[in-house]
C-alpha cells in the first residue's frame, strides 16, 4: 500500500497542474499582504467605526500577522475546494482519459486498494496545500506585519461582536483551525474522487464538484426555518467554515476573554463528526461502485 502511495504521489508531483494550486494561493496571499501593508488602516478604521467609543485598542497594532492570516483564511478557504477538486477529480477519470486505468486494473492490486490510495494521495495533497497556505499566510504575515494580540470581528445574529485574543493564545488556535480545514477539504476530495469514478475525463467531475459545493453553500445560507431545521444540518457546506469556532473565545460574565478557551466545543465536535461521516460515506460509496464497474475506456 505504501509502495502504491509513493507511486501515486510521484505521479502527482510530476504533473504541472499540481503546482497551479500552490501558485494561485501564493498569488492571492501576496496580493492581500501587499494591499494591507499599503492601505490596511483604512480597512481597520471601517471595521472599528461602529465600536470606536466602546472599544479601546491601539489601531496601528490591530493589523498584525495573526489578524492578516485570519482575514486570508476567511477569504481563501471558500475558494480552496476548487483547487482540491483540480487534483482529486482527476484521480480516476484522468487515468481513464489517458487510457492508463485499464493498465492499472490489470496489475495485481485490488480496486479497493486503488481507490484508497487515490484518496490518500488527494488527502496528502490537501494537507500540503494547507501547510503551504499556513506558511505563507501565517508565517510570512508574521514576518511582514509582526505579532500582537488578535482582533476578531464576529457577526452573531443581528449583532456584531469584537473579540480580542492574547497573542500567546493564538498559535494553537491556528494549528487547530488548519487541522479542521484539512478535514473539511478532505470532504471535497472524497466528493471529487467519487464523481471521478463516473467520468472518462476530469473536466466533468471538477465542474460537478464546484457546482455541488456552490449549490450546497447557497442552500446552507438560506435563512428559512424549514431549511434551517431539515436541510442545513446535513449539508457538509454548513460546516466548511467551522474552523472559525477555534477563534470564538469564551468570555466571563464581564466580557473578559478566558485564555485557552473556546466558546462552543460541542459545536466543533459535532461539525467534525458530520464532516468525517461525509468522508466515510463518500469513500465507501466510491469503493462499492468502483469494485463493480466495468472498465470500458
Amino acid at each position: 500500500m505504501w509502495n502504491l502511495l509513493q507511486i501515486e504521489l510521484f505521479k502527482i508531483s510530476k504533473r504541472p497542474r499540481t503546482y497551479i494550486a500552490f501558485a494561485a494561493i501564493a498569488a492571492i496571499v501576496f496580493i492581500f499582504q501587499f494591499a494591507f501593508k499599503a492601505d490596511g488602516q483604512s480597512y481597520m478604521n471601517l471595521m472599528l467605526q461602529s465600536v470606536k467609543d466602546s472599544f479601546e485598542f491601539e489601531r496601528t497594532k490591530a493589523i498584525n500577522g495573526y489578524f492578516m492570516c485570519y482575514i486570508i483564511l476567511n477569504t481563501l478557504l471558500v475558494q480552496l475546494p476548487i483547487l482540491v477538486a483540480l487534483i482529486a477529480a482527476d484521480s480516476i477519470s484522468g487515468e481513464a482519459n489517458m487510457g492508463t486505468l485499464r493498465l492499472l486494473i490489470t496489475k495485481p492490486i485490488s480496486r479497493t486498494q486503488l481507490i484508497l490510495v487515490k484518496f490518500a494521495a488527494a488527502t496528502i495533497f490537501t494537507i500540503l496545500l494547507l501547510v503551504w497556505m499556513a506558511i505563507i499566510s501565517l508565517f510570512f504575515s508574521l514576518l511582514i506585519f509582526g505579532a500582537d494580540d488578535m482582533l476578531i470581528f464576529r457577526s452573531k445574529g443581528d449583532e456584531s461582536q469584537i473579540l480580542l485574543i492574547s497573542q500567546d493564545d493564538v498559535m494553537w488556535r491556528y494549528l487547530a483551525a488548519f487541522a479542521y480545514a484539512t478535514v473539511a477539504l478532505t470532504v471535497i476530495a472524497a466528493l471529487s474522487l467519487f464523481l471521478s469514478i463516473f467520468a472518462d475525463n476530469s473536466i466533468g467531475p471538477i465542474i460537478a464538484t464546484v457546482c455541488i459545493v456552490l449549490v450546497c453553500t447557497i442552500i446552507s445560507n438560506i435563512n428559512v426555518p424549514i431549511i434551517d431545521k431539515n436541510v442545513r444540518p446535513f449539508l457538509f457546506t454548513s460546516y466548511l467554515v467551522g474552523w472559525k469556532g477555534f477563534f470564538y473565545i469564551a468570555t466571563t460574565e464581564d466580557g473578559v476573554p478566558i485564555k485557552g478557551s473556546v466558546e462552543n466545543w460541542a459545536a466543533i465536535r459535532n461539525s467534525l463528526s458530520i464532516l468525517l461521516l461525509h468522508i466515510g460515506v463518500l469513500l465507501g460509496a466510491s469503493v462499492f461502485i468502483f469494485r463493480k464497474k466495468d472498465i470500458l475506456s
Binding site: F10, R102, I105, T106, K107, P108, I109, I295
Partner: protein
C-alpha cells in the same frame, strides 16, 4: 501440456447486447493462441474479462489452475498485457513508466534490469525521453516492455499491431515469436487479420458476434487440403458445365464464378484435365477455405454456421 487459460461458458451482456455468448476455449502452456474476429466480434470484451476489467455475466475463467474471480491478484502477478493501444503516462519518461508498472506488478527490479528491458524493445537510448514525444511504434514497444517487465508467464496482447507501419508490424511479430520460442512464454494475441495470426500463432479461435465459430491448430485449420481454387476462363459457363460432368464435380462450388474446394496439391491435375476438356484458362487463384469463410463473416448478417473443416 497443461492448460494456462481455461474459459468455460463465458457470457457478457451489456444492456441489450450480448457481446460474448457461451464462449469456451483453452490456451495451453507455450501456445501462441490467436484470437481472431472482426471488430465487434467480442475479442476485446473477452480479453477484458480475462484481465478482470469487466465482470462476466455468466461463466468461469480459470488461469494457472485458479479461478480468476477468487484469485485475481495472485493470477495477475503472472500476467502481462497490452490492451488495444498502450496508453502510458505521457508526462513521464519511458524509464519512469516502466519503473512504476514494475513496482505495481509487485516485482523489485533494478535499474539495470529496467534498462535491459528498454534495450530489448529498442528504447534504451530514449529512456529519459517523455512518452508524449514518442511515435506510435515506440509507444507500442514501450507497452510491450511494460507488459514484460515483471517476467510474466502469460502475455495477453489485444491487437498489438494496430496503428503500426509495416516495419513496426514485422518487428512486433518477431518480438512475439522470440518471446514464445526463446523465452517459452504463453501468448494470447488478438487480431482482425487472419494473415497476421497465421504467421505467429500455433492455435487459434475465430469469434463472430460473441460466439465461437472455429477453434483448433492453425496448421490443421489452414491445411492446403482445404483450399479454394478460383478459375477464370474464356467461357466460364461452358467450363462450369464441363467440370460438372467431370471427376471434379464434387469440388465445384455454387455461384457464378468457377470455384472448387480441393487440395491445393492437385491443381496441376485440374489444369491438365481442363486443357483436355478444351477449356482455355486465363487465371488460377488459390486461397484457403478458412480465409474465405473468415472474409464472409464481415459481409454476412444474421445467423452464421460455425466453420466445418
Amino acid at each position: 501440456m497443461s492448460a494456462i487459460i481455461k474459459v468455460n461458458h463465458l457470457s457478457k451482456q451489456f444492456k441489450d447486447t450480448k457481446a460474448v455468448d457461451d464462449l469456451s476455449f483453452t490456451v495451453n502452456e507455450g501456445d501462441v493462441y490467436g484470437f481472431l474476429g472482426q471488430n465487434g466480434a467480442g475479442k476485446s470484451t473477452t480479453i477484458r474479462m480475462l484481465l478482470s476489467l469487466i465482470t462476466p455475466s455468466e461463466g468461469e475463467i480459470i488461469i494457472f489452475g485458479k479461478k480468476l474471480q477468487t484469485h485475481r491478484s495472485e493470477i495477475l502477478t503472472q500476467v502481462g498485457a497490452v490492451i488495444e493501444k498502450p496508453d502510458l503516462y505521457k508526462y513521464l519518461s519511458a524509464y519512469d513508466n516502466l519503473s512504476i508498472f514494475a513496482k505495481m506488478s509487485g516485482s523489485k527490479v533494478s535499474r539495470e534490469l529496467l534498462m535491459k528491458q528498454l534495450e530489448m524493445v529498442g528504447l534504451a537510448d530514449r529512456a529519459k525521453g517523455k512518452v508524449e514525444t514518442f511515435s506510435q511504434g515506440m509507444k507500442q514497444r514501450l507497452g510491450i516492455a511494460v507488459a514484460l517487465v515483471h517476467n510474466p508467464a502469460l502475455i495477453i496482447l489485444d491487437e498489438p499491431t494496430n496503428g503500426l507501419d509495416p516495419q513496426g508490424i514485422a518487428d512486433m511479430r518477431n518480438l512475439i515469436l522470440r518471446l514464445s520460442r526463446e523465452m517459452g512464454k504463453t501468448i494470447l494475441i488478438s487480431s482482425h487479420l487472419l494473415s497476421e495470426i497465421e504467421l505467429i500463432a500455433n492455435r487459434m479461435i475465430i469469434l463472430h458476434k460473441g460466439k465461437k465459430m472455429v477453434e483448433g491448430k492453425v496448421a490443421e485449420l489452414l491445411d492446403p487440403a482445404h483450399s479454394m481454387i478460383q478459375l477464370e476462363t474464356t467461357n466460364d459457363a461452358a467450363a462450369k458445365e464441363k467440370l460438372s460432368q467431370s471427376k471434379w464435380a464434387d469440388a465445384l462450388q455454387q455461384g457464378n464464378s468457377i470455384k472448387l474446394l480441393m487440395n491445393k496439391q492437385t491443381v496441376p491435375q485440374l489444369i491438365s484435365d481442363l486443357v483436355g476438356l478444351d477449356v482455355s484458362i486465363l487465371s488460377v487463384n488459390s486461397s484457403h477455405s478458412l480465409e474465405n469463410y473468415f472474409l464472409s463473416l464481415t459481409t454476412m448478417s444474421g445467423h452464421v454456421e460455425p466453420f466445418a473443416n
